[in-house]
């Protein structure tokens, strides 16, 4: 039983790290990033490939963050003139480009066959101790990430990016250059996604391009919208709710009588959808959202 909760915890925390990045980009700065999974994929493949070559995991994680961040930089430069929805399309396209490059460059990524046997974290500890150690590590990284985002939000830099979100012209009129700040925000958020990707690769131990579809991005979006946009607590609580819906529904079978085992799988997915719809209907600003503004 504990091992199952630890597994859910690890996956949930990986999603929290992803949503922290998006909180910074969308919640604070207003950049609609629909390509988050692209940076997640870059992180996962970078760390996995290095680790399979024998590079110590400390360095492969650092490389994952660095490369994912670097990938965001040119994207930021070319698309800064684009507003809101246009930017969203570019990022969505970017994540698909990443996926297709990974699929096609078989000499590097083994293409659609994927990379099996990625080393795990704390392999030496073995069994449940290793799982617990992974959970603690991801938790620590998440907390540090959350703390950094909170610090950013409270700093002059944070107020500036919030001003960009609320009124970009006003920021320009005050003599600040929004472009530079947007690039910085993109890079930091992407680096966080890269770290999340590295954890994912070393936890699942097998990655293949099919895992990095836009659905992942939209899970993260669902999480931050349910939790409350622009709040660090929202990112955390939102992911928790999403995981509760997705995993809790597995136990539906125990409480709903009269549905066959096979039908249950479809009922379950339906129930998740219904819960998400109801949640947004009754809590449109998210659980931890800012209720002072309308």
């Amino acid at each position: 039983m504990e091992a199952y909760f630890i597994a859910i915890g690890i996956i949930a925390l990986i999603y929290v790290i992803l949503s922290l990045g998006l909180t910074l980009q969308y919640g604070l700065t207003g950049l609609i990033n629909f390509g988050h999974v692209g940076f997640f994929a870059i992180g996962a493949y970078t760390s996995a490939l290095l680790a399979l070559k024998g590079v110590p995991l400390v360095f492969s994680f650092a490389a994952a963050a660095a490369l994912a961040g670097l990938a965001a930089w040119p994207l930021g430069l070319v698309s800064l003139r684009l507003r809101d929805d246009y930017f969203a399309i570019v990022t969505l396209g970017f994540s698909e480009v990443v996926r297709i490059v990974i699929t096609s460059e078989r000499w590097l990524t083994n293409g659609v066959q994927g990379l099996p046997g990625i080393p795990r974290l704390y392999e030496g500890l073995g069994g449940s101790a290793a799982q617990l150690a992974v959970l603690v590590t991801v938790l620590a990284v998440t907390l540090v990430g959350a703390w950094i985002i909170r610090r950013i939000a409270g700093s002059p830099f944070g107020r500036l990016i919030e001003a960009i979100r609320d009124n970009e012209e006003a920021v320009q009129a005050l003599g600040k250059d929004p472009a530079r700040f947007k690039v910085q925000v993109l890079v930091v958020g992407a680096a966080l996604a890269g770290i999340a990707g590295a954890f994912y690769a070393h936890y699942i131990t097998y990655i293949v391009p099919d895992q990095f579809i836009p659905l992942v991005t939209f899970y993260v979006w669902m999480a931050i919208i349910m939790g409350g946009v622009g709040r660090v607590s929202g990112a955390i609580v939102g992911t928790a709710i999403l995981m509760l819906f997705l995993e809790g529904s597995r136990f539906l079978r125990d409480i709903v009588p009269g549905v066959s085992e096979v039908d249950m799988a479809s009922v379950r997915i339906g129930a998740v959808g219904l819960l998400l719809v109801l949640f947004i209907m009754y809590r449109p600003q998210g659980l931890m959202g800012d209720y002072t503004k309308r």
Binding site: M1, A7, V112, Q113, V262, I269
Partner: protein, 406 residues
Amino acid sequence: MTHTRRQFIGTIGAATALIGAPSILRAQAQGTFRIGALCPVTGSGSPFGSGMQKMIIAAAEAVNAAGGAAGRKIEIVSEDTQTSPQAAVLAAKKLIDVNKVQAVLGTWSSGVSLAVVPLTNDANIILMNTSGAPALSMPPANAKGLSYRFQATNDRFGRAFAEICEKEGFKRPATMAFNNASGVGNTEGFRKAWEAKGHKLVESVVYEPNQPTYRSELQKVLAANPDVIVTGSYLADTTIIMREWYQSGQPVKWVMPGWAASPDLVKAVGPDVVEGVISVDSVSNENAPSYKAYDEAYRKATGQPGQSNVYAAMTWDMVHVLALAIEAANGTDMAAINAKIREVSNPAGQQVYTYAEGKEALKKGKINFEGASSVLDFDQYGDVTPDFGVFFIEGGQLNRRYVVKI
């Protein structure tokens, strides 16, 4: 009515407790052997998944009706992989840690099987899959020898394609593959086997999924002037390719896997277009009594003929092989059971076709279970080598001309 945040969190907490509570009461019951059915009920495997899961349950009923294995009843706990590795990992964790299953049966796509196998290895339990990827045979995936594959590997499909091309006298084959592990696996397997015979490919193209047209890929292949095109494709893309090829008017033969060149393809494009297409599929062990039993169970559970789902025949066999191994090991020790799997299914021994029959025969000596999906003889990697049926589409019908053994 106003809600406070605190109330809301309270409600969610209560809901969690409600959902979590029953599972605590699920301690392992005495006298049962619990098996996890982990099938692709939703997602891209859904055309097969529900039938696979139903056959695991039906086979377990057959085993229990014959008095169970080693004095225990088989109990099935079902989960859905959603045909996604991440969802499958969490589902497998739940089966292993919460439900305490002692074997996981029925993973379908290679991505899912490769993600689940480290977990079953850690728990020292058996995984039985129907995936094609070669990586599943070798360490690290099958480091402990606990993983069994009931489907032919993509490599074996490729070898069968090469045998057929040689037999049919083709000289200039080209390949077209859907870009995923299975599609590319088929054509790569073909290329290896074909080149090993000292021949050459004239062209090979890999195409991306979900395109509205494959005209440019098709033109590239046809420009090389092949006499046959070997595909690793699926139904939807094959339908488009066949239509566009027919419009081009260039004569060429086709060799395709059975899941692409199926009766549905004939229905979709019309018998004229697919006349003469060669369809290759692993043949279920159709003349064996075990196939008859499976077919009956499948019709009863789904109202469709057993032929419509080769993977369901495989999951039917999984439960049979496992239950016979449990009976032979006479206990629930996983190492002992694993040691018996090959013993009850490989040759030397009395051929048996049902669980009840096998259980009786085990009292007298060694048995060799012949499954519904194939004769089920596992090699050292836990792979089976089924025979391949070669079907020619003639006048809209798939007629089996011969069987290829590799």
